[in-house]
Symmetry: C2
Subunit: 307 residues, 2 copies
């Protein structure tokens, strides 16, 4: 709190209603990375003037990349969600944590094709792993044995090379027991699509993907998963590998300080923009600014970019 510890970053500026400042901010960048839930929509409710704002940015020649930690949907399923909202977005513009995880496993870590990945998660992970040719089980598959036989089936399995955990709204004791059994072999990788503590939906906070891996970390005496979603540097590396991204001309737009804004700052992007339609509040944003962890600018909602 002393002047010696003062952050070098400027305090977050609120730009809502300041058309000239907004336009000047937009002009600094050629690429905008967007978080989706809490920025473009809230659950199944599209936020005001989002379509017009994205059209405005496209009309100015800006490149748009949609980056989400939500691993329950594949890129293809996410594309359908955009279509439902009347937002024209191609699958190639979408970068989800399930996709990022599958690409890292297949192309960077080169998980052997004859090994299997055990999934605690939903269809998004399964679809992206399949698309990368990775064998997997668990996930949305019904349990293949009676529930009271968990102990018989729990234990290391040499055919399993990794456990991937994402948000699983059907998490169960059996899934956790099996994952723990596989992870008792320290050679088995422990991955998470993301470790968000909560999952905002319908104006409520429900358990997030990180809450699905937390029991395993606890059982493993503190061994945490390698996470691929925001704010992990692995996510930024994947994006850089996939697109021609000039970080000095890129801005991250998000609603959450400890994922989106941290991702933009730690990832070395030239700008960060927060909106107040999601998780982090104005008070939290200003407080984070004091610690040098706030966004450059913030708006009440994304539509305010129209000025």
């Amino acid at each position: 709190m002393s002047s010696a510890a003062a952050p070098s970053r400027a305090a977050p500026r609120k730009l809502t209603g300041k058309k000239e400042e907004i336009d000047a901010f937009i002009d600094r960048f050629d690429t905008f990375l967007f978080d989706c839930d809490g920025v473009l929509w809230q659950g199944n409710h599209l936020l005001p003037k989002v379509v017009e704002t994205l059209e405005m940015l496209r009309s100015k020649g800006k490149k748009l990349i949609f980056v989400t930690n939500n691993s329950t949907k594949s890129r293809a399923a996410y594309s359908s969600k955009f279509t439902t909202f009347g937002i024209p977005v191609s699958v190639d513009e979408i970068f989800g944590s399930a996709y990022s995880t599958a690409v890292c496993l297949a192309r960077v870590l080169k998980i052997p094709k004859d090994k299997r990945v055990f999934v605690i998660g939903e269809a998004g992970i399964e679809e992206e792993l399949s698309a990368e040719g990775i064998q997997h089980f668990g996930g949305t598959q019904p349990l293949w044995f009676p529930e009271d036989e968990v102990a018989e089936h729990a234990g290391p399995d040499p055919s399993v090379s990794a456990v991937v955990v994402g948000l699983d709204r059907h998490i169960s004791y059996a899934k956790l027991a099996l994952a723990f059994g596989y992870l008792q072999d320290p050679a088995v990788h422990f991955f998470a699509t993301n470790v968000d503590s909560t999952f905002p939906t319908h104006g409520k906070l429900l358990p997030g993907a990180g809450s699905c891996s937390a029991p395993l970390t606890y059982m493993l005496g503190g061994r945490a998963p390698t996470a691929f979603g925001k704010p992990s540097p692995a996510m930024m590396e994947s994006i850089e590998r996939r697109y021609t991204l000039d970080k000095s001309c890129a801005c991250m737009v998000g609603d959450r300080l400890n994922t989106d804004i941290k991702f933009g700052i730690d990832g070395g992007l030239a700008g960060t923009l927060a909106v107040l339609t999601g998780v982090s509040t104005e008070k939290e944003i200003l407080k984070a600014g004091e610690a040098g962890e706030g966004p450059d600018v913030y708006l009440d909602c994304l539509g305010d970019m129209l000025g």
Copy 2:
């Protein structure tokens, strides 16, 4: 590791096969506190010579107290388990974490009778709370709304004064979401029967009660539950309040270093005895001894007390 940090406690001595030393050790105590699973039995399998060992101790006038962190059974249900194994034990000699929790809530913390307790756990907790006249819901009750309406029902509820978490082999996303919603009111107590990371059964390690509260701790940004089971001092206080216990003549017998043995040492009992039929291995016991956290003595199995 330096001599300056050398523990004052002596290294754990193995007494298996040393009849005179065993008898001298037994003679030092008038009360033996026993952990059950991993000491007397493993799941549904009684360990060798347990009946004879307990008879020998009773014949010498020793007082026996059976202390378990397993909250899935009430004391009455536990008593039936003893009977199944042919061990004569009265309900009054059994002290479980579900009972300890219910007694603390009702008699020490005096949870208001018109408030409700939300339970993540099994029948043991429900039965002990009911016996103490505490209103509760959740637990083994089926969900009272369709699963896809979790968000609608999640949130603070002024009728709820506490959340109690124990081992729940039917843990679900909805239960975690509801518990998190209630705990968003900081006035709502967060309790755990115990926080064992694992639950040994049928020779395997499955998720323990602590793994059921870990997601909530994660969602709450690190707020951990107050735990009533071993090694919590609350458990020792409850035992002292209930029995006439002279700690200078009492010995804790258990299979697990971080619950049973820690409970005996931290609780100020005069002695600790470990057996190798449960979770902790001989190597771990000797290593703990170097850190001053080992038992006084250990045996291959409880039956070795017969000499």
